[in-house]
Amino acid sequence: MAWLSDRRAATLLVFAVIIAALPLVFPSGYYYRVAALVFVSGFAAIGLNVLMGQAGQVSLGHAGFFGIGGYAVAIGPAHLGIAPWAATPIGAVLSAALAYVVGRPILRLKGHYLAIATLGFGMLVALVITTESRWTGGPDGMPVAKLVLFGWRATGASTWYWISGAVLLIGAWIALNLAETPTGRAFRALHDSEVAARVAGIDVARVKLQAFVVAAVYASLAGSLLAMMNGFINPDQAGFLHSVELVTMVVLGGLGSVAGAIVGAAVLVTLPQLLTVFQEYENVMLGLIIIVSMIFMRDGVVPTAARLLARRGQP
């Protein structure tokens, strides 16, 4: 059982068991849908965490790529006769190309300046989607064709639960893979000291671009998945608030932690559902909970919990 001593394999096994066992405790079919939403958001957050947690670069416009993925599966079948399954990778390639072109000038900026530049990018994408209503249906959004694979139609909450669960596992596997490779080490190195990374021979501009493109592809795929699952898309998916939500998932769950990205997604997707009992105070409660958790768990939920567990484990 040597592979179990591999932390990557152990983590993936835990995720797989949770995904497989979760339906056993679902009181109703509605929970399949909530969990699938968590998985899709978690997938996007894992990607953004590669950029933010590993490479240390912020993006406040990542929903732009999410939107591109979503509208690719909406527009492709509706206007261009492309099958939804094919529109998904096309959207991802478009997002990657756009990330490459936009990332080259933007990623030279640091800190706040990078945040503002990515924010501008996200707003631009949302603006284009809202105004090009002939293609996108404008502010009202547009319907998305059902995913059909080899004549089988993907419908129903439980079907999408399994699809998004599997996709989440693959996304987690790739992010875990990356951390301990030359590329992943280069990401983490430039996060801690850009000048030392450069002196070690790392082409920092190129490596930042790689992280940006990887994160964009994750977001795009998540956007496609969500659009096909909902059968509908509107410009909010690409909007600023959604970008902030994605960043919050990453930071709340724990920068640099794959499990943290999923936990962050779970919190941000499920809390609003739980807080509906507070009615008009729902958003206030959500904000308060996020503020308090950041005060007491500055490193995020998962790293803080891991540290507490490690301390208890010591004699």
Binding site: T183, R185, R188, H191, V195, A196, A197, G256
Partner: protein, 260 residues
């Protein structure tokens, strides 16, 4: 023949010349020390030579080729490695991983292979880890390999930087105050390490305030004062140079150097 040669380097910060008309060269197997009072421009000179800063004037040659103005990563690829006076370690990585980053240029790095962690990546990782571990042993940090680098004390961080720089298997090694904050035993270890790597054929440029160390291991010494070269020669020549005594060593330094 010199491996690294800098000619007439000038760099000004807002009109103030931090270094002015400074030249030096260092050959394989040679240890050149650059000394001078605080603010003399030693670190600035390192920053120019390693591509972190661009000089306003002057020329840098590495292995006979003009490399003036190349960025640090390109210089590193041509065999130039350095450490930092103000520590630049990767705090959130383990000690071993820090040195593994030092081997970046010795690794094949392909995004897609890494995303899938292909068997070739795993194999290469193992080789990198072994080489990094050997380098850590060489600086006496073998037992700290799996600690978080951010948890090391100052002297250990200094040695970690040396290990990381050496992991790249450079031709030229620039060391900016490697013995600062180290105790007598650690300083002696660093002294032996520097002599050993020079004996293996590396060109070493050393900036150091510990005069005993400098006088003992340097083949040649360049003295800077307020950005300008003040003297250049063997340790004995520099020690006996009245201008150096006046400007830099002072009575205290002269006494220490005399004992070395």
């Amino acid at each position: 023949m010199s491996v690294l040669k800098a000619t007439d380097i000038m760099l000004a910060f807002g009109g103030v010349k931090a270094i002015d008309a400074v030249s030096f060269s260092v050959a394989a197997g040679e240890i050149l020390s650059i000394i001078g009072p605080n603010g003399a421009g030693k670190t600035t000179l390192f920053n120019v030579v390693s591509g972190v800063y661009r000089s306003d004037e002057g020329r840098v040659e590495l292995a006979g080729e003009d490399v003036t103005g190349l960025p640090p990563d390109r210089l590193a690829a041509r065999g130039l490695s350095r450490t930092f006076q103000n520590l630049q370690i990767f705090q959130r990585m383990t000690v071993l991983e820090n040195v593994m980053v030092g081997r970046h240029l010795r690794e094949r790095c392909n995004l897609f292979a890494d995303l899938l962690r292909l068997p070739s990546v795993t194999r290469q990782n193992r080789a990198t880890r072994d080489a990094a571990r050997a380098q850590l042993e060489a600086v006496g940090l073998g037992t700290s390999a799996d600690k978080l680098a951010g948890s090391l004390d100052y002297g250990a961080c200094k040695r970690l930087e040396i290990a990381r720089a050496l992991a790249a298997e450079p031709k030229v090694l620039l060391l900016d105050e490697p013995a600062a904050g180290c105790n007598a035993v650690e300083t002696r270890d660093i002294d032996e390490l520097i002599c050993r790597v020079a004996a293996q054929g590396l060109a070493v440029v050393l900036v150091e305030h510990d005069m005993r160390l400098v006088m003992k291991i340097s083949h040649r010494i360049l003295v800077l004062d307020r950005g300008r070269p003040l003297a250049d020669g063997t340790p004995r020549e520099v020690r006996d140079n009245p201008a150096v005594l006046a400007a830099y060593l002072g009575s205290h330094g002269a006494r220490e150097a005399g004992r070395a």
